[in-house]
Amino acid sequence: MNEQSRKPSLSRDVGGRKTMVQELADLSAVVVAPVDDQVGMLLRELQRFRMRVRQVWPMPESVPADADVVYCEYSPDLARRLPWIPGDARSALVVILPATEAVHADALCHATPNAVLPRPFTQNAVLSSLVLARSQFGYERRLRSKIEKLDDNLRSMRTVERAKAILMATRQMPETEAYGFIRRQAMDRRVSASAVAAAIVDSFELLGYDHQQ
């Protein structure tokens, strides 16, 4: 919509697909780290990508998660301070690693970061951590929603199978036609095929079709 107002370089995309840099613009970020030269640079970099940035320190008991990306200083009890349970993260997480102080492998693993940003930062490191975190977080979320849909489909397939069998028996339809019938009804009524199938199975029961025939 407001493509025109953007920098010329941003609208150079071909085929209507947003570039990574365009995708980053308007995202929100929380940076949980003390402001020093390094973190100042990180904040400036994020702002340069046109992100809305908020800085928080000292480390709160519960890390704020109302942002698309959370940059958070490593701490051995970081996982406990994250406001979500593992596997149900609400933001992409980048853990900022200390330059010299030892990092505990299990603690890092339990925080389930999508990317890390080791000190000292460079512009390239900031960009790659951001790109990686966004892409990994998005991919994980897509996989999870795919699994949810698969679960749903698995259940509805049984209903569709039953509805198909009913149509084949009561209307002498061949299998492909029975499926086509369900799909057409679904499109006409703008509901899912499984909803139509459930309606067929239900009405079949209501009409008291004799099973033993």
Partner: protein, 406 residues
């Protein structure tokens, strides 16, 4: 299907010799205890049944430790009480894995609580041992399911009820995942066998006695042949009591359930429970030396007037099955432990059971019981052998029409 790959790389089992142990674990010299997580609600509306699951787990842990532990190391439970709050299960699972450094968790009764723990054990690669019957249609690589799935209870129950009482079923359930999903499965089974659902009601999980009165009145009006109940927790007691109060006769129209065990019958009163039907893998009255020993030890530990039940039994045998597998691999590493657990058999109180490597579910016995005046179940039907777990009902499409129940 889902675990085809595991089936192939199931490692050849190391023998129980010292050599095997050294090969499988370089740190075998330690005598530090094995820490395991335990998550059952000992307070709140689910405590009637979950307390017995806690007891089954506790008894098995004590037996393992009395026998010298596993590979000479003691089992030490880290237990939390989520107070019947599903979300709390997720938070405690996180605490167990992140702060207590536990990777194996025994727990959960309701499907909502299991689904709260699921993201945690899946993301951090833990192992949840789930000792409760449930609605099926799930197979997480991070869960070992030791309770019945629908093909191991609903199917036989549906058949028995239709043979004995009639084809018109009235559904009553608590309003959450398990009852709705179980009713979906039961409806499907009924329909493919010529039965029908003549009523369907759900009550809040916090339902009180008076919430069941209008339902019982509706049942008197509709006159079904069978009441199929998926009410769980305290509500179970209220439903059966409301039924008894209006003078309905269990010999004519029984309440049939997959979840009403000896524990709920004791809570509602033996006279109230008498004549009602439950399908389960286990009842206290099951014959056999493994069960006699289990019942005796359970009563000795928790009181002579306390009955065992299917959930306590599953909690008990899964802990022993876990200890048996752990003894072989000497490691709590999820991948290593799981591949050993798959295919492992155990002589459980209900009979021999095996964790099916195809789905991570357990091949269990199918039994139909009718409650008697002593608060126990008389087994009226039972499978000839353990029934293979089929959580996705793959083998039961239209097969029910031709009568292949077991």
């Amino acid at each position: 299907m889902l675990f085809e790959s595991n089936k192939n790389n199931n490692p050849s089992r190391p023998s129980n010799s010292v050599e095997g142990l050294i090969m499988s674990n370089p740190t075998q010299a330690t005598s530090a205890p094995w820490r395991i997580g335990v998550l059952f609600s000992r307070t709140g509306f689910m405590s009637v049944i979950e307390e017995t699951q806690y007891q089954g787990t506790q008894l098995a842990i004590e037996e393992v430790n009395e026998a010298g532990g596993v590979c000479g190391r003691e089992l030490v439970p880290v237990a939390y009480d989520p107070g019947s709050d599903s979300a709390a299960y997720g938070h405690y699972a996180k605490r167990l894995m992140v702060e207590d450094q536990v990777s194996t968790i025994f727990g959960c009764y309701t499907s909502s609580s299991r689904k709260a723990v699921l993201p945690v054990v899946e993301r951090l690669n833990g192992l949840l041992w789930y000792p409760t019957l449930y609605e099926g249609f799930e197979a997480s690589p991070n869960v070992i399911y030791t309770g019945a799935s629908p093909n191991q209870n609903s199917l036989a129950l549906c058949r028995y009820l239709m043979d004995t009482f009639g084809t018109r079923f009235y559904f009553v359930g608590s309003d959450y995942i398990y009852p709705r999903e179980s009713n979906r499965v039961m409806r499907e089974l009924l329909k493919s066998n010529g039965g029908s659902v003549v009523g369907e009601r759900y009550v809040n999980v916090y339902a009180r006695w008076q919430d069941f009165v209008p339902i019982i009145q509706d049942i008197k009006r509709v006159r079904p042949d069978v009441i199929f109940s998926t009410v769980v927790g305290e509500g179970t007691v209220f439903l059966y009591q409301a039924y008894a109060n209006v003078g309905l006769d269990p010999k004519q129209v029984p309440i049939a359930s997959l979840t009403t065990t000896e524990a709920e019958i004791a809570a509602m009163g033996f006279d109230v429970g008498e004549g009602h039907v439950t399908a389960a893998s286990y009842f206290q009255g099951v014959e056999g030396s493994a069960n006699n020993a289990f019942v005796q030890r359970f009563k000795k530990r928790f009181g002579a007037d306390i009955s065992t039940n299917m959930c306590a039994e599953a909690s008990y045998f899964q802990l022993h099955l876990f200890a048996k597998a752990l003894e072989q691999v000497n490691s709590l590493d999820t991948e290593v432990l799981r591949s050993m657990v798959f295919g492992t058999s155990f002589d459980a109180p209900q009979g021999a059971v095996t964790v099916n490597p195809m789905s991570g579910h357990t091949d269990l016995w199918t039994r139909i019981g009718r409650a008697n005046r002593q608060g126990q179940f008389d087994v009226v039907r039972q499978s000839k052998e353990p029934v293979h777990a089929d959580p996705f009902l793959i083998g039961y499409g239209r097969a029910t029409q031709t009568g292949s129940v077991q």
